[in-house]
């Protein structure tokens, strides 16, 4: 029956338009893989250049350092963290932009703006908190804060993009709480949260939506 297929097409259009206008679907799985690799590279550089080759830091690690060593450590670790952040965000933006061009969609839409605002609020809050913790020499909470606030940003973002992002956020938050409970394993959990999880998520997204 002809009108029957018209109705099916109507439903298909409704579903497609609703989804495209309320969720940003140009996030790239490859971006996750790259971000994860960059994070692991950053952690490796930190371990070998600044942390005496140690991935698990004993309680008194920072106490044994001289003032001079400590300032070299602070500047070095902050620089690595900043470069990792900029590279990961840059690559994610670029790959998302490429994906939306490929799909013939705009990158800057009402939903992508909402996605961004919902991520920026927890990320900026976390960023400022980390700078405050840093200036108060409250090292133990820096890594947990990174993971927890990033996780909160993803949980927020999940409403405006793939659902998978929500679950990634939940695992990041749990990882952050673990890092707060077991500070010695902070860096290891950081590698898990920003490295391993991103790569796993990227592979899943790539296989699920981009192949």
């Amino acid at each position: 029956m002809d009108s029957q297929s018209e109705y099916i097409e109507d439903l298909r259009i409704i579903k497609k338009v609703m989804e495209e206008s309320s969720r940003f679907l140009s996030l790239s799985g490859l971006a996750g893989i790259f971000a994860g690799l960059i994070a692991l590279a950053g952690a490796a550089i930190s371990v070998f250049l600044f942390l005496d080759g140690k991935l698990i830091l004993a309680d008194g690690f920072f106490n044994d350092k001289t003032v001079h060593e400590m300032s070299r450590l602070k500047i070095g670790l902050s620089a690595v963290a900043l470069i990792v952040l900029i590279l990961a965000i840059g690559i994610s933006f670029w790959l998302s932009y490429r994906k939306s061009v490929q799909k013939g969609q705009k990158m800057w839409t009402p939903v992508s703006k909402r996605l961004l605002i919902n991520m920026v609020v927890p990320l900026l809050t976390g960023g400022i908190l980390i700078m405050i913790l840093y200036s108060h020499h409250n090292w133990q909470l820096v890594i947990p804060s990174m993971l927890i606030f990033y996780g909160l940003a993803l949980v927020n973002a999940g409403k405006f993009t793939y659902n998978d992002v929500f679950y990634l956020g939940m695992i990041e938050i749990l990882t952050g709480l673990m890092a707060a409970a077991f500070p010695a394993f902070g860096l290891l959990l950081w590698c898990f949260g920003f490295g391993v999880l991103h790569i796993t998520y990227g592979l899943i997204m790539y296989r699920k939506y981009e192949r």
Binding site: Y7, M18, E20, P110
Partner: protein
């Protein structure tokens, strides 16, 4: 088997109007240019369909200024939402009864 098509609304026989309503159901409001981009239609075409939805109180227009630029956005009215949901349910029922 005879199917009930009484829930279908003539407003949504047109796919552009159907698209406009689908967007406004899942978004509190949507501006003209974004609607245009999302549906891939021309200014004139979109404006005339929005006008007919507005005239029938399915859609509400919100005009405001961002800086000095006028910005027109649209929202679904309660009536519009009700008619659309009834239409959607009727479509689904028809397909299911096939």
């Amino acid at each position: 088997m005879k199917v009930d098509i009484s829930g279908l609304s003539k407003f949504f026989e047109n796919r552009i109007r159907l698209g406009i309503m689908s967007i406004l159901i899942v978004n509190d409001s949507y501006d003209f240019n974004s609607l245009k981009a999302a549906l891939g239609v021309t200014d004139g075409n979109l404006a005339s369909h929005l006008k007919s939805l507005e005239d029938n109180s399915l859609v509400r227009v919100n005009k405001k200024f961002i800086g000095k630029k006028p910005n027109t956005s649209y929202s679904a009215t309660e009536t519009g939402e009700k008619i659309f949901r009834t239409h959607l349910k009727a479509l689904e029922d028809i397909i299911r009864k096939k």
